[in-house]
Assembly symmetry: C2
Homo-oligomer: 369 residues x 2
Amino acid sequence: MPPRYTNLVQSLPATVPFVGPETQERDRGAPFAARLGANESVFGPSPKVLEAMRTADAEIWKYGDSTSHDLRHALAAHYGVAPGNIVVGEGIDGLLGYLVRLVVEPGDRVVTSAGAYPTFNYHVVGHGGVLEMLPFREDREDLPALVARATEVGAKLVYLANPDNPMGSYWRGEEIAAALDGLGPDTLMVLDEAYAEFAPEDAMAPVEIEDDRVIRMRTFSKAYGMAGARVGYAMGAAEVIRAFEKIRNHFGMNRSAQVGALAALQDQDWLAQVLADVATARAEITRIAAANGLNALPSATNFVTVDCGGTGDLARAVVKALGARGVFVRMPFVAPEDRCIRISCGRAEDLAVLETELPGALAEARAAV
Amino acid sequence: MPPRYTNLVQSLPATVPFVGPETQERDRGAPFAARLGANESVFGPSPKVLEAMRTADAEIWKYGDSTSHDLRHALAAHYGVAPGNIVVGEGIDGLLGYLVRLVVEPGDRVVTSAGAYPTFNYHVVGHGGVLEMLPFREDREDLPALVARATEVGAKLVYLANPDNPMGSYWRGEEIAAALDGLGPDTLMVLDEAYAEFAPEDAMAPVEIEDDRVIRMRTFSKAYGMAGARVGYAMGAAEVIRAFEKIRNHFGMNRSAQVGALAALQDQDWLAQVLADVATARAEITRIAAANGLNALPSATNFVTVDCGGTGDLARAVVKALGARGVFVRMPFVAPEDRCIRISCGRAEDLAVLETELPGALAEARAAV
């Protein structure tokens, strides 16, 4: 007789937020030639990160530091906040899970955008929250509408990715800070800044660290090139950060990842080089898109969202045709954003594969729909 | 205004399961000379693991495989079960958290032993479960009483570590298999086999993999020397394992840790060497204890629990005095097991430090209580 799962668990579908590229590679029976679908940093981490992890690996028999002390203190110094304003966790994915668990009870409302980060939705549904999903507006998350709706329904959380994934757009930080004043007392804003390092300076919201209306999520997965290490952090009011101590997996961090993230933070020269490489790649993807008659949207991230000029069916066909040609990309989930495909920035050799394969993929897709 | 935490979260204390050695080192202002308190494998992982992780680190910019496909399939082959009988997770700690979340609703009963694994208790309390804790009996978890009590109260889970931590004792597998027949239909047995590799062969419960009355937890943290990598796995009926897909953090695994664990599994020669080293260390700790007039308990694990021959206060004073002398050990939490200290197996040089420091620590402790 199977276990008596909770009522909530019984109601959940056995879904995954999305299918990973390794699964797709196994399904197609061959590796991708260009891995440009998960907004990873093909440019990799700093060599100093690799060196630090290799050294740390010799101590992999030890559990990691349960408080991520050194990394947390270095982050605090980096941002000019207190160590108590930061909690390190197993990627933003893990931290979003903890945050949802802290505040969402079955039936609680949570507001986000239709087509925004599916793993956040997965956690909300997994804890019994009721999602309200508002449409994007002009290829941006609709900040005023999100705040208004969250306040109207007394949502526990309102999610805003800034810059946004999958459209690469952003709100100016001042606009976000002003919007907080419209939030009702029941609502905490989750400000997912996974792509913060790539964004213009004016995209960062000027909010006091002890402002408990918002919690910011950051990561070493994107600009620092450490997606596989699983190191993220949340920043916010000390009282909010302290709450994570009640439920987080205290010994959940990989020891070498902690050390590697610290080395990454300390190599800001590498970060600057990556940002320059990403800027070059954004221009290159835009050029390749234009050469194929497609319009690339402006991007404040390490990916470029390209309008395929047709329906979602066309874009889906393009993603499929590119995949069959060894180019892994993804695309927005819902209309009208799903007229686009989303291409992560890559090195010259990655984008050369894209340039070679895109015309054929487009032709095949247009013939198929 | 702080967020509206769930009622459950508001009721939780901001406790941690236990304090890590790094925190203790910062508090004392010096590193430990012998790290023998967390049942880590001082012998380290196979050199092939380090080599595999170093190679994998070059791809740390990629997210890990969300299905841990290669590791899961290798484990399945190793045990002669199907890949669908295994879920890989962020250490047993992470998997216990998922399991509790799958079955425990606020108010549900869970049965364990007083002084058994605190992180399991942390997860149960964190999900609103009501713990019933039964005493150890003759330095073993009281299997018949645990099963009887779980059945009596309709517990959702009953926890048994076999071999046991912190006493190092074990039940024969046949006894465990027979005990399952006494379990009520509401109860799933969590069989924590973190120390399985160190145990006599007859300690492994001969239960069919599709027997859904039990789920087994295993890890690369102990015998394989990879505690800092955070790789554990649960084995059980495919239907039970499948339930984890509804809630687990699908992209939560460190990529290099996945690769390293696979290399660890493939180097059974290294494992055999570690088991031999552990056996040597157990004998050596027993000898050192006897030389100090102390009785070492038999151990089926990579640690030896040593009876200090007095009260819990005495043992706590010994742990403290050893710590002040640079020897990190831990001890059972509750009486009468807390008459003991728990010493992890170490290399000759680690145990030499123990041998040097134990007499002074004992004298100091005896003078203090």
